[in-house]
């Protein structure tokens, strides 16, 4: 494993499989235990450096670090020196001087974790950067698929929605490809990046044509304000053409599952009866997120302090 996890391509197939296997071991080690804690990272310090609001990702990383017995510091842009105009580099050096072993960073600017990694000696974990990547989300998605379907090789995954602005899509395309799955991106052409043809994925504008063959349907969040920039004419039209409702769910194969990274726009990209159906893994994804992030922190920081 590399020292940092900045993007899905930092993991080759062996590394990615190791993360998923480790997450599975951690999960079974903790299952049925009254005290859900491992002593692995005792004495190590993990900083959650969050420049964007993200309750679920921050809590997931916090829980992961605490269950490994690490000391956790939450540093959010609001109410810190950041709001007084301190640069990312100064903040990074300050945190390192305080003895952080790993920095988990969420930032609105694509590439901020890469820059951070060039300034600090400890490990950097990308918890979502701009419209670039969100590698631990892809890992937890892969973990969820493997648990539900028993495999990743050859699994057909449809990723549906705002691919252009989605860091979840970028990470999933790369990681799922690494792990042998076949990804099809489904979106209106306005929500696909110019250059998507160079990605290891198929592209379709027609959700109804893709669904019958899909083993996994991964719905992406679509922000209604995209409509104001003419990415699509109206929320209603978007929902009609690219939303997953009960009628569309009915054409899915028996084993097919429906995923969503959250937070959902119920009634926009996903209907309530789909989100709450037995095919839905949405709540499971959240739980798996903690195990996968424990595995990542364990593998990056495990062993004796360097």
């Amino acid at each position: 494993m590399k020292r940092h996890l900045l993007e899905a391509d930092d993991l080759d197939r062996a590394d990615a499989t190791l993360v998923l296997d480790t997450a599975a071991q951690i999960e079974s080690a903790l299952s049925g235990r009254e005290v859900k804690k491992l002593p692995t990272l005792r004495g190590r310090t993990v900083v959650n450096l969050f420049y964007e609001d993200s309750t679920r990702t921050r809590i997931s990383f916090e829980l992961a670090a605490k269950r490994l017995s690490a000391d956790v510091i939450n540093f959010s842009a609001k109410g810190s020196s950041v709001s007084k105009g301190e640069s990312l580099k100064d903040t990074a050096l300050t945190l390192e001087a305080m003895g952080s072993d790993a920095i988990v960073i969420r930032h609105g600017a694509s590439g901020a974790p890469h820059q951070l990694a060039s300034w600090v000696r400890g490990s950097v974990v990308n918890a979502g950067d701009g419209t670039h990547e969100h590698p631990t989300q892809a890992l937890l998605d892969a973990y969820t698929i493997r648990r539900r379907l028993g495999r990743l090789e050859g699994v057909r995954v449809a990723v549906v929605g705002d691919v252009l602005h989605s860091r979840v899509a970028r990470s999933n395309v790369r990681l799922l490809h690494t792990l042998g799955a076949e990804v099809t991106l489904v979106a209106p052409p306005t929500l696909l990046p110019v250059g998507v043809g160079s990605w290891p994925a198929e592209v379709s504008y027609d959700l109804d044509a893709v669904l019958p063959k899909a083993d996994v349907v991964m719905m992406l969040r679509v922000q209604a304000e995209r409509m104001n920039a003419s990415f699509f004419p109206s929320a209603r039209e978007y929902s009609r053409r690219y939303g997953l409702d009960a009628r569309r769910m009915a054409v899915l194969g028996d084993e097919a599952i429906v995923m969503h990274p959250g937070p959902m726009n119920r009634g926009m990209e996903i209907a309530a009866e789909v989100a709450d159906s037995v095919r839905s893994t949405i709540v499971e994804q959240v739980g798996n997120g903690v195990s996968v992030r424990m595995a990542v922190l364990y593998l990056l920081l495990g062993g004796a302090p360097s």
Binding site: L88, H107, A109, G111, A112, H114, S118, T131, R170, G195
Partner: protein, 428 residues
Amino acid sequence: MTYLIKGARVLGGDPADLLVRDGRIAAVGASLSATGAEVVDATGLVALPGLVDLHTHLREPGREDAETVETGSRAAALGGFTAVHAMANTDPVADTAGVVEQVWRLGQEAGLVDVVPVGAVTVGLRGERLAELGAMADSAATVRVFSDDGHCVADPALMRRALEYVKALDGVVAQHAEEPRLTVGAQMHEGDRSAKLGLTGWPAAAEEAIIARDVLLAQHVGARLHVCHVSTAGSVEILRWAKTRGVDVTAEVTPHHLLLTDACAEGYDPVFKVNPPLRTDADVQAVRAGLADGTIDCVATDHAPHAVEDKECEWAQARPGMLGLEQALAVVQDTMVETGLLDWAGVADRMSVRPAAIGRLTGHGRPIAPGEPANLVLLDPTARSVVDPAALASRSRNSPYAGRELPGRVVHTFLRGVPTVTDGKATR
């Protein structure tokens, strides 16, 4: 002071001696001698007319922490330049006779290159109404090049009026071609790499659409148009078409667009953030070919110094622009001469003769011949060195060539017969 330059290869030709006296070239020939002259051994050095930059950001007034007229002038002299056009996006903006005269005077005081102010086209670069172009033209700075560089004069009616109006001043509008609605939030060239990096794309079409519009406007009103920092293959094609149709259009390309591509963005180091952005390999090949065949008239640096804090930050927050004055000639040697696309006479044409003509500078870009002003650069084309930003004369350090080995070394620069660079060191 009299200088006898011995054995210089004028425009890369056979060795000859140059006698420089009273600011002018007094004689060119074999085995010249002159009593009392200081002898400059130029064996193996190539002599070119002093370089002229149509596009320099000197940052003064307003951002003297990034560059001053003096530090920028020194960088220019070390790069072999004898004249630079100082862009108007200062603070305050160079949109009045007062500001352009201030910049001009600072250049005179520094005395290292002729600093030729560019006047803003519109008040405050806001693209709403024309600045007092006539007052700037008639000022001591004798402005002939007008540009809102950094901003496109996007309003087509306003652009038309600007093109028309400067005809009376023998002026030219230098357009920063960027359709603003197509580049909202743009961070890098839009293509495969922007898709992967998750950075908002700056489509080639946003540059090409404005160039296409402006060459049509220039033809319609019979005006002169200059296109700043051409970066795409499509732009070269449009310019080639326009020139075939007889449009009075000229264009420049930067050293960085001749050498670097959008692959540089992959590490998210904002030193490579620039506007227009670094493009693809195919674009680089096209702008080189355009410069070689004269479709692109000249090289202009777009030297854009930035303070450390404006570059050592998130890519999206970083200011666009990179240093260029001190490495421009080296990059041109690397990309154009050593590839066989231009000889040294061609370099003189693209880096001195044509930019001087576009800027209406009568004392620059002249032949190296008796009676002409002694604006000269002598370079050693056999030298090679690795660029060290800490060693640059610019006040800023945002060189995209850091750590890169480049050919050539400017050994001497003369401004009207006075050495501004001797043995690679600035004289003041």
